[in-house]
């Protein structure tokens, strides 16, 4: 594996001495958000080290992460700006059309990408495809050092700098530590940052299906009584299923025979894709919300699920994370180009102002949607059907919702606008 630490003993912009490795930014966690930030920074000339617990071969094993991700237009922009997108473009399926259906109601919202006029709404890709593209990009960047496997045991931060100690005794010194280490972030906990969290009485079951009929690039979101049910188009006549269901019913569906589960799925998918086959393991993810009470501490910034982990109803999890990445990358690069301290109070305050309120708004709206749609009460259902039909007939309002779903609102970071960092 060309991305392993051993193959690159002296990366540009880094220095190694008896006291350890020295760089500008050290990213703890090499998942989708962490590595995208690492590649974005290195592309813009900022020396960076990314630490990951698992090696690339482990992460590319089929059972490591069988999930798929719906990448909004803004996320593709971020991946393109980081030089990652060319390595995955062929394996990502464009979403050309989104249909939102309330149970079997005839009134539905229909979004066609030609309404917005800047290309597809988004793309669906296997997480493995994104990871492989990230590793390929890492190999192209001499000022990015990917240290794997690495387990962080200690993080020290003070006004002079930060020091990250690994289990094998190695020490990485940097101006800024980025916590991209997921929901149970060690970085967040070690800084004593508290979280606000709540859970839903729902889990999301996830699997991929293959089908005879083409999906035509259409994504479908159905609001069923148990929760939202999404069919997202993948390459090669496959689709990804995200099926939210009451927690108590989930074990029943997971334990069913493949035939019985396929029949349950087929009933919910309908007939438009022809006969379906389940082609991956079924897995279930409890739906919950976690929001860090601060995204920053001295010399520390949190991105992705370390800052916010959310119910996947609107498919926004990684998309929010990549917007964090675009904002934080811009803040870091701006400071770096002026020779300013990239981990100083000013860049971190700017990042927090930029992202935390945006994410909180999205979490609140998503929570309202969940409560509104996971409900069979007659008047409420009628109201939301009429609401959807009304939105459908009012192009400006519809355009507003579409641009929101695509992540094209607010003060956009340069990467999302498609400009170089």
């Amino acid at each position: 594996m060309t991305t392993s630490d051993e193959s690159r003993p002296s990366a540009a912009g880094q220095s190694t001495d008896s006291a350890g490795l020295t760089t500008d930014v050290v990213i703890v966690g090499g998942g989708l958000a962490g590595l995208t930030l690492a590649t974005a920074l290195a592309t813009a000339g900022v020396p960076v080290i990314c630490l990951d617990r698992d090696t690339p071969p482990t992460q590319l094993e089929t059972d490591f992460d069988g999930r798929t991700t719906a990448l909004a237009f803004c996320s593709k922009q971020v991946l393109a700006g980081a030089g990652v997108w060319p390595h995955m473009a062929e394996d990502a399926e464009p979403i050309l059309d989104i249909r939102v259906v309330d149970q079997e109601s005839p009134l539905f919202l229909h979004y066609d990408h030609t309404d917005v006029g800047i290309g597809p709404f988004g793309w669906i890709a296997d997480n493995t495809v994104i990871r492989r593209a990230l590793f390929a990009r890492v190999a192209e960047l001499p000022n990015l050092r990917h240290i794997v496997p690495a387990s962080v045991t200690r993080i020290e931060r003070d006004s002079g700098g930060a020091k990250v100690t690994l289990a094998d005794g190695r020490v990485v010194k940097a101006r800024l530590v980025v916590g991209a280490d997921g929901k149970n972030s060690f970085c967040r906990k070690s800084a004593g940052i508290t979280v606000t969290t709540w859970t839903y009485d729902q889990s999301a079951m996830i699997c991929n299906i293959a089908h005879d009929q083409p999906h035509g690039g259409v994504a479908v979101e159905k609001f069923l009584p148990g929760g939202p049910f999404a069919i997202l188009p993948l390459t090669d006549n496959r689709s990804s299923i995200v099926w939210s269901e009451k927690k108590t019913l989930v074990p029943k569906y997971l334990d069913m025979s493949t035939e019985a589960f396929t029949a349950e799925l087929q009933r919910r998918v309908g007939t438009w894709l022809g006969p379906i086959r389940v082609v991956t393991k079924r897995s279930a993810w409890p739906l919950s919300v976690l929001h860090a009470d601060s995204y920053v501490a001295p010399r520390l910034a949190l991105v992705g699920e370390a800052a916010h982990a959310m119910h996947p109803i609107a498919g926004q999890g990684l998309n929010m994370g990549l917007r964090d990445v675009a904002a934080l990358a811009e803040v870091i690069v701006d400071a770096h180009r002026l020779g300013l301290d990239v981990g100083g109070p000013e860049p971190l305050a700017r990042y927090q102002r930029w992202r935390r309120f945006d994410n909180l708004t999205l979490i609140t709206v998503t929570d309202l949607l969940t409560r509104l749609f996971s409900n069979d009460f007659g008047p409420l259902k009628l109201a939301r059907d009429l609401g959807m039909a009304a939105v459908n007939r009012m192009p400006p309002l519809k355009k507003f919702f579409m641009r929101h779903a695509m992540g094209m609102v607010g003060e956009l970071p340069r990467m999302i606008r498609g400009e170089p960092l």
Partner: protein, 270 residues
């Protein structure tokens, strides 16, 4: 520079600082005031908050002008590498340290010993290489050291003997530098607007700066600086205003409004 001339150039009779070197244009009262708040230099929300806000603008102005003249890519790695800079009145190192990170071979000088100590300590903690010295522009010029880029930002309005100070700045410019050494200066204009904003606004209304930080009578007009350089064969090449937007709480360049803060760079007359 002899100590007799020091006495003759002190414009206000406050207690002279014990830390004052043998500089000729240094105002002892000014040194005492700045030393008192030197430890707070690096707190972006502290007493130097406006300077922290202004800092990115002036760094970008210097970086871009130097890169354009010396043929560098301002966004490339270490764009100032190999160029010798001196920052006069370096204070806590707010300007010297970032420019050193961009590759400049940086000498930072200040007439206040405590500033130099604070700046050196901070650079060491941050792992940045800056050669800080407790000296004055006059003494450094007399020592024969020369530089590709001479910086005197927010300093001239605090010196006691402006013509002598400007002469020292031009002497520090390396005549062998290709395509020619640059001199950067930033200060406050002597206009009623500057009095309203920089003194009444910054010292009394916003309380950004301790009262008495600035003396309006010591502010200089751009034409006065240009006239001060001319006898030494140095001409102003570019000048821009810097304006503060209170709603956005940020500074930005404004090429038309030189009424309050302005920056310029000068070089040998062609």
């Amino acid at each position: 520079m002899s100590t007799t001339s020091t006495a003759s150039t002190i414009s206000r009779s406050t207690a002279p600082s014990a830390a004052s070197p043998s500089g000729g244009t240094v105002d002892a009262g000014e040194i005492a005031r700045f030393s008192a708040i030197a430890a707070e230099w690096w707190d972006p929300r502290g007493k130097f908050k406006p300077l922290h806000k202004y800092n990115p603008i002036r760094i970008a102005y210097i970086r871009d002008a130097v890169c354009a003249r010396f043929g560098r890519d301002p966004n490339g790695p270490l764009p100032l590498k190999g160029l010798r800079f001196v920052d006069i009145g370096c204070g806590g190192g707010l300007l010297a340290e970032p420019l050193a990170r961009l590759g400049a071979e940086m000498v930072g000088i200040d007439a206040a010993g405590r500033n130099v100590a604070v700046a050196a300590l901070h650079a060491e903690q941050s792992g940045v290489d800056v050669d800080y010295r407790h000296t004055t522009a006059e003494d450094l010029a007399a020592s024969g050291e020369r530089f590709d880029v001479v910086l005197a930002l927010e300093v001239v309005e605090h010196v006691a003997h402006v013509p002598l100070f400007l002469q020292s700045l031009t002497t520090l410019m390396n005549p062998g530098s290709e395509p020619g050494a640059m001199l950067f200066l930033a200060t406050i204009n002597r206009t009623p607007k500057a009095f309203a904003l920089a003194i009444v606004g910054a010292e009394y209304v916003l309380r950004w700066l301790p009262r008495g930080t600035h003396d309006w009578r010591k502010f200089l007009k751009p034409s006065e600086l240009a006239a001060g350089f001319r006898p030494h064969g140095v001409t102003v090449r570019d000048i821009t205003g810097v304006v503060y937007n209170p709603l956005r709480d940020e500074f930005s360049l404004n090429r038309r409004d030189l009424d309050t803060n302005y920056m310029l760079w000068a070089a040998g007359t062609e």
